[in-house]
């Protein structure tokens, strides 16, 4: 079982679904930068060899018995990390889009700012490269929308390159949005008066596979997230402000 190392123990969390072609390289690349970091891959009941590839690369793997979706997988990882006593968790995608070189930057920002969440943003340096047109459009829409709710600009609200500290970990281990969780998670943090920061990161082309958010599903995505945001605003209304 992976164990926290030191007082500020960090765990790397990678949710993965049918990422056989990329997951091994992602784990190996993280190990190049951080050989001693515990890496947990949560395999969302993949039909390919994702589990085998991740284990072969040296990651610990939790495999859920049936397909839960991104949020369910991430929450499983957060639960385990919280139970084991980790102080920080940084989540990366399993397709190789996130450059592990930025893990240190995100961790540093988490510690320095004492924010509950730090987002690796592909737009802070103004590039936003390797983002599809539809996704780019959606991100722009949610930027404007979230500006009203969060009372603070967020440049890359759909980024899956996210670090959280133990306070956020405790909240997300208990409750986490199931589908398209990134934006809803931000709203939950805002309702609990937690803080978030962004750091610029470089986004790369995915090593293998395709994005699950196709053009047709984009509309469903927008509606789902809007409803989810509304639900979370109502759900956490009257929460203890800190």
């Amino acid at each position: 079982v992976i164990r926290p190392i030191g007082e500020d123990a960090l765990m790397i969390l990678i949710p993965a679904f049918n990422e056989e072609g990329a997951i091994g390289a992602v784990v190996n690349e993280i190990k190049e930068f951080h050989p001693d970091l515990p890496i947990l891959v949560v395999d969302d009941c993949s039909a390919d060899g994702t589990r085998r590839a991740a284990l072969h690369a040296g990651a610990d793997v939790v495999t859920v018995p049936f397909h839960l979706g991104l949020g369910g997988c991430v929450q499983a990882g957060y639960r385990l990390a919280f139970d084991l006593g980790f102080q920080y968790v940084i989540r990366l995608d399993g397709d190789g889009q996130h450059d592990p070189a930025y893990i240190t930057k995100i961790l540093q920002k988490l510690k320095e700012s004492r924010s509950q969440m730090v987002i690796g943003s592909r737009y802070l340096n103004g590039s936003g490269e390797h983002t599809s047109f539809m996704r780019g459009l959606g991100i722009r829409f949610f930027r404007l929308f979230l500006r009203l709710i969060l009372a603070k600009p967020v440049h890359d609200p759909t980024s899956g390159f996210v670090g959280v500290n133990r306070e956020a970990l405790e909240v997300f281990a208990r409750s986490f949005p199931l589908e398209y969780p990134e934006i809803e998670a931000l709203v939950v943090l805002q309702r609990l008066t937690f803080r978030f920061e962004e750091v610029p990161v470089r986004m790369r082309k995915r090593l293998a596979g395709q994005s699950s958010i196709t053009a047709v599903r984009s509309l469903y995505y927008v509606l789902h997230v809007l409803l989810g945001v509304l639900v979370n605003i109502l759900k956490y209304r009257g929460s203890t402000r800190r």
Binding site: V62, P65, L80
Partner: protein, 120 residues
């Protein structure tokens, strides 16, 4: 109108029969059959009690008894569907929590097994 009310009464009795049969065969749990039995019983009472139907029609401003009956059926079944959506949502939440717990326990068990094998 008479024919429609008779069909509604017959269908409600059929629904009660199907639900009771399903309970007996353990195809449906008793707690989940209550909504169906209540809705079907209400439908049966209204389709056989014309004065009651007319009275409700007056309150709603409808002078056509079949419309009143259809409206009430629609409302009753919307409530039933809503109740089952709540139940399904709760079951899904419980399923996810259980799935995550099983996956984590399986991982821990596997790790402990591997560690003990390495020591041996």
């Amino acid at each position: 109108m008479e024919r429609l009310l008779s069909i509604a009464a017959g269908l409600s009795l059929l629904l009660i029969g199907i639900v009771l049969f399903a309970i007996r065969r353990a195809h449906i749990r008793v707690e989940y059959s209550v909504s169906w039995l209540t809705a079907a019983s209400a439908l049966f009472v209204l389709s056989t009690w014309k004065e009651g139907l007319s009275y409700i029609g007056e309150i709603l401003g409808l002078d056509n008894a079949p419309y009143v009956l259809l409206l009430i059926i629609g409302i009753l079944f919307l409530f039933v569907f809503f109740r089952f959506s709540v139940i399904i949502s709760n079951l899904k939440d419980a399923n996810i929590a259980l799935t995550q717990k099983v996956a984590i326990l399986e991982y821990q068990l596997h790790s402990i097994h591997e560690e003990s094998e390495t020591k041996a």
